[in-house]
Symmetry: C2
Subunit: 441 residues, 2 copies
Amino acid sequence: MDPASTIGHQEFDRQRDPQHHRTLGSDAGDDRDSRNASPEQGLNRRTFVARGLSFVGLAAVQGLAPAWAAGKPRIPDDPTRVPGSPPSAYGQRSTFEDASRLVSPSHSLTPLQALHGIITPSALHFERHHNGVPLIDPARHRLVIHGLVERPTLFTLDELMRFPSVSRTAFIECSGNSGGEWREPKGKTAQETHGLTSTSEWTGVSLATLLREAGAKPEAAWMLAEGSDAAAMTRSIPLASVLDEALVCYAQNGEALRPEQGYPLRLLLPGWEGNTCIKWLRRLKLGTTPFMTREETSRYTDLMPDGTARRFTFVMEAKSVITSPSGGQQITPGFVEIRGLAWSGRGRVTRVEVSTDGGRTWKLAGLQEPILPKCHTRFRFPWRWDGQETILQSRCIDEMGYRQPAREALITVRGVNSYYHYNAIQSWKLLPSGEVRNVQV
Amino acid sequence: MDPASTIGHQEFDRQRDPQHHRTLGSDAGDDRDSRNASPEQGLNRRTFVARGLSFVGLAAVQGLAPAWAAGKPRIPDDPTRVPGSPPSAYGQRSTFEDASRLVSPSHSLTPLQALHGIITPSALHFERHHNGVPLIDPARHRLVIHGLVERPTLFTLDELMRFPSVSRTAFIECSGNSGGEWREPKGKTAQETHGLTSTSEWTGVSLATLLREAGAKPEAAWMLAEGSDAAAMTRSIPLASVLDEALVCYAQNGEALRPEQGYPLRLLLPGWEGNTCIKWLRRLKLGTTPFMTREETSRYTDLMPDGTARRFTFVMEAKSVITSPSGGQQITPGFVEIRGLAWSGRGRVTRVEVSTDGGRTWKLAGLQEPILPKCHTRFRFPWRWDGQETILQSRCIDEMGYRQPAREALITVRGVNSYYHYNAIQSWKLLPSGEVRNVQV
């Protein structure tokens, strides 16, 4: 793997601002152990930097404000002179890091603009609960499979973990992601506009394995999936559409599912709207028709311009968002790597195109390998901002040939009565001040 | 992607124990909302299970001990009747989960036997420190590149994050992983024998980009990399061998590096021994020869049978370990999915072979896609344990054609004076009691 292959170094060389960091003199210094000297020795900046001495001294020279002033722990002036902390049983992030989910009573949003790569840290995976996060003892939890099966069966967690297991890195997106954008540019940041999508490596048992174990009857066409939360969240799932890929998961990013992601069991239907990936899963019932639970109509339908409603619109269509630069960020002229995420519930992302002129022209972005089906894909595009006002956009094309629509095209078909399944191109306006704002064009 | 493809359902059907979980009667029950009934209504077990009612009642029937007895929080009898917790800004794992790193003063070990898939949760990534984890303010941290360069240069973290970025999912393995196994079967668990390897998705800047920025001179052949810890940990790196893949990383599994993994900057040399992936990176100096720092000789050389020492043995050769069943676990007869991890510092894993008879015969294990170069690869093998004593083993073959050696073959070449780079086949003995023990054959 050539780590530079997705970027294009020539392009980078052409676009970059050669002066955006400090170049020192060419005095290469000597090899003495850094700890044999200190800022107090009064070396001039050039010599002391070239010798690799304390950068803290340099910060002081430059008048940088000490970061611990705002309640941070006391930072040693020279970390090489103070023994560090011992290993720990279960690590925490640095106290300097504060990327957080944006929390409301029913959900929380992933801070996409603060993240890198495609894996969402489990602690920052978005949440959407219908009556909070239940407290469940895994030793007492059971999954029942019943209805049109030969052998209605109860499974303990230990039993499920003995079955053949499967891992799959996949996004989960709430169908309400970007729902605030139908009528106006509501979200101020990428977190607010697109933060209801996250990616994890999930591990569990194939649903097909469990249904064979219970002896699903040939006439079983729909499956009711029910959670153990205080909403007893339920959805009806058409079996034939999911059987190849559905997993009953007990693990996320290597460890047990997080409580807010369904601990100890979650249904994963890769590419389908998040609410169908029932959390705290306790029951699967097979039948011949949809079960028409509350959630089939009270939510999760799409009101069309003619007053009819689309139902069972499960698949999350291709979508993308530029996460940097994005709303609320402040940028400076010069080289800017435009970074973002693209995904499709239909399969792999095949192309992402970026416009730096409000949609007049589009260029191909680089895609970070591996490109996995129904998974966030990181795209990057090297660019030089001249400081003029402009609009940045991205659009995703998936392996079905589907192209993420412009806002106008989406609204022409769907109207503005819907809340769910908004996947139009996102526009970020750069102002000459360097401010980035959510706009709709 | 067919989630069952790596397992072979026919094999599973043949091997599985059909009675290892409870099959209920075929009474499918009705569809009434679960919350309209309760265990107190005195339904018999069959009816009440078939109706999807409280599993807590069932647990009581079966006499399971309440799990909260040991200091756990009070668990509601029926989670559907108690509103759950609200969303949170930064999530925590369930209080029922306790997988932990095994901690010693200088290092901690990843609990491989408790993990799933290939991503290691950042909180459980192994640690190896030479003088603890330094406390570093990222705003004050600098990386200097000097020595044989045209433009000795200081970089702030913000500056580094503006450069073209690259993500890479890769393992890091300490060269001392399994070092206790040279003379005797020392580790009791997979964590103790193999827990000094972990996998993360890393994001940062290509080293090649930074060296071009500083203007590396043609005669520069070696690079000194230095950390900001109290050991000022330093290693000499031959540039030509790493330039295609080396990254200067600031992110791990989506968020900022964890402190114990080098926050805010770490050198990543995919496939190379972990100690070369300098944490808390603050200095890179280019030269023509190795810098012969303390760590080049006091550690990280391999003493051979003839008394000479191998030096600069950077690459971690192909290796694998069965993580389940593994030492310290207790298993029962019937279907057992043998699960493990395989990896190679030379590239992709192409095959993993499993023996269930102490090495007499070997069969191909299934490999979970995606199989990434220099990355943990999850393997699985369906098996039926008849309850008799036997020995389980795995061996990894990589894309160079290298095959992980038997213990005897490794010792024939290397002797038993070494501590580092032990990659022999691991043997786990199953006793008729179901106990699993580390043995050497």
